[in-house]
């Protein structure tokens, strides 16, 4: 229930002594899981709160671009699959908010931070979904990139996050396959469907690569996160892994990846790619993507329109013991 989120934040560790830090690092190095009641450095806590809440926000905001097509899904089967997928994403959000709450931050605080623009969510959801093929591209590329990011998180040193990720990854892999299946239908369909499929790949390819974050040389959080085993691979390594896995899938669809510099490197065994437009990436992160304002406005609207419902729930809990069973 929502009111769980009303619990106050726990005390923060502010006096990390060198002995405590060393003992903590020893546990990390021994691959022990850190649990909510365990001592942890305040920076570790802060990092996880930032990362897990950002992840939760992404799942919640991520409902919007797909929800945009749910009323227009082309068949009953596709509508059912899309509804189930969006429901999964909202469930991931719930699961992740709960994981973050174990670190002493309330859901209300996290949501306030999202709505005020203080907290971030994945940049990918600030791009519009313009055709039905985008539902395929999101499953295939966006969930595909998310899986690359999240599979290593199943071994994250923080227990609740790691366990959440194990569950989330199972569902994401199903999402990825259904997205690819939509693309397969479109790529093998009518000329118009094929055009939509290629157009969706053109629009989502680069934003999907940006999901892995800044390049390693510019990532301010990476080194410490790797040492704490929150992160296991660098942004660029994961991005390369994603490209290597995805290029043959695009070829199988008969679609062209919108990167003229994309070339298989016999020496390294990897696909070399062109430079990402980092200006665009930082613009979208800063709130200047095509849909940033709309996405946040939609979340704010839902939150404000639902305020009376949440107030009524609390009032009703306080006023009465609920009689059972109505009609």
């Amino acid at each position: 229930m929502y009111s769980q989120g009303l619990n106050g934040p726990a005390e923060k560790n502010t006096d990390d002594s060198p002995e405590q830090l060393a003992a903590f690092q020893k546990r990390i190095d021994a691959e022990e899981k850190i649990e909510p009641r365990d001592w942890m450095p305040s920076g570790y806590r802060k990092t996880l709160i930032r990362q897990i809440s950002q992840h939760a926000h992404s799942e919640v905001v991520g409902q919007l671009p797909e929800g945009n097509w749910v009323t227009r899904a082309p068949t009953l089967k596709r509508k059912l699959i899309l509804l189930a997928k969006i429901q999964d994403e909202a469930g991931h959000g719930l699961y992740l908010y709960s994981a973050a709450e174990t670190l002493g931050v309330s859901r209300e605080q996290m949501i306030d931070d999202l709505l005020s623009g203080k907290a971030k969510y994945s940049s990918i959801f600030n791009y519009p979904t313009l055709t039905w093929a985008d539902m395929g591209a999101i499953g295939w590329l966006v969930d595909g990139a998310a899986i690359m990011n999240q599979v290593p998180l199943c071994r994250c040193s923080y227990g609740p996050y790691s366990r959440a990720m194990i569950r989330v990854c199972k569902e994401e892999s199903f999402h990825q396959r259904q997205g690819y299946e939509v693309m397969l239908k479109m790529a093998n369909g009518s000329p118009e469907q094929r055009r939509m499929a290629q157009d969706a790949l053109n629009r989502f390819w680069w934003p999907a690569l940006m999901m892995f974050g800044p390049s390693d040389k510019d990532s301010i959080h990476s080194a410490q996160s790797m040492k704490w085993k929150i992160k296991r691979f660098s942004n660029d390594d994961l991005r390369q892994k994603f490209i290597d896995a995805t290029v043959p899938q695009a070829h199988y669809l008969g679609l062209e990846i919108p990167d003229p510099e994309l070339k298989f490197n016999e020496e390294t065994g990897h696909w070399d790619h062109g430079e990402i437009n980092w200006d665009e990436f930082y613009q979208v992160i800063a709130g200047n993507g095509p849909c940033n304002r709309e996405r946040l406005a939609a979340r704010r609207r839902a939150h404000e329109a639902g305020a009376w419902v949440r107030e009524a729930v609390l009032a009703s809990q306080q006023k009465h013991k609920q009689p059972r069973e109505v009609a």
């Binding site: 229930m1 009323t71 899904a73 082309p74 068949t75 509508k79 509804l83 939609a298 329109a305 609920q322």
Partner: protein, 262 residues
């Protein structure tokens, strides 16, 4: 004429029509609920609304498949053809389910009124003499029981909650109440279906519905309006203006790109 038509006096078109009435109710209500996707009052309720929609669209798929399987080869249709290629005047849902979501109060009152109706109706349809419908009814009934528990909880909680939630709920009851008599219309087809043991007696469904809904409203501090205009027409394909827009949105891809596989 088939053997079953001789014993029941019903034609394939009658069976099709009845399955369409049930299937279209589920489809249009599911479609309306799916508009909430990502916009619920809090995350748990977002999930719940999506889940209700998912169940209803699943029910619609089964019921429209059943409707489409009636008649000879020239008359048979897939569930998708029925959902995506009929115009508004061929839809057989009641007007209540096509009414706009409005605020959360309107959505939940609409849901509760339908859930009580569906629970009573499908608890009878599990004994329908039309076996394929009885089989579907068993699955539907399990889901509807959860739906009614959910919407019934909200009726009580919001009716009693705050002054604002009470006012919003009362407004929703006032706005939607006169769409409910249509649920119990006992037209010629309904009577023939009842005589053949396919469908239950609508007067008794109405009595049971009132016996469920009226005390629940009272318990929630709400009351039905006393008199007003009464909606009708859905079963004849005479809908409110809303249905055309619902279909324009829902059917867009099938209409714009006919004959494609998706």
């Amino acid at each position: 004429m088939s053997a079953s038509a001789i014993t029941t006096g019903l034609l394939p078109a009658d069976y099709r029509e009845y399955a369409l009435r049930l299937g279209d109710n589920a489809l249009i209500l599911g479609q309306r609920l799916s508009e909430w996707c990502g916009h619920g009052p809090f995350l748990e309720e977002d999930i719940a609304l999506t889940n209700l929609s998912l169940d209803l669209i699943g029910q619609a798929q089964l019921l429209l498949e059943l409707a489409g399987s009636q008649g000879d080869d020239t008359e048979q249709k897939t569930a998708d053809e029925l959902a995506y290629l009929r115009d508004a005047d061929a839809f057989r849902n009641v007007l209540l389910v096509e009414q706009p979501n409005g605020d959360f109060a309107h959505t939940m009152v609409r849901q509760y009124l339908m859930d009580v109706y569906d629970e009573i109706l499908y608890s009878e349809l599990i004994r329908s003499g039309w076996q394929p419908l009885a089989d579907i009814a068993r699955k539907v009934l399990k889901e509807i029981r959860y739906h009614k528990q959910h919407s019934g909880d909200w009726l009580w909680r919001l009716g009693q909650g705050t002054d604002e939630s009470h006012q919003r709920m009362q407004q929703a009851v006032d706005d939607l109440w006169f769409y409910t008599p249509e649920l119990f219309e006992n037209d010629d087809l309904q009577q023939r279906l009842q005589a053949a043991g396919v469908a239950p007696d609508m007067a008794s469904i109405q009595t049971r519905w009132q016996a469920g809904v009226l005390p629940a409203l009272k318990q929630a501090g709400l009351r039905p309006p006393e008199s007003g205009w009464v909606a009708t027409g859905g079963r004849k394909g005479h809908h409110s203006e809303h249905l055309g827009y619902i279909l324009a949105e829902m059917q867009f891809l099938q209409r714009a790109y006919p004959g494609c596989e998706w």
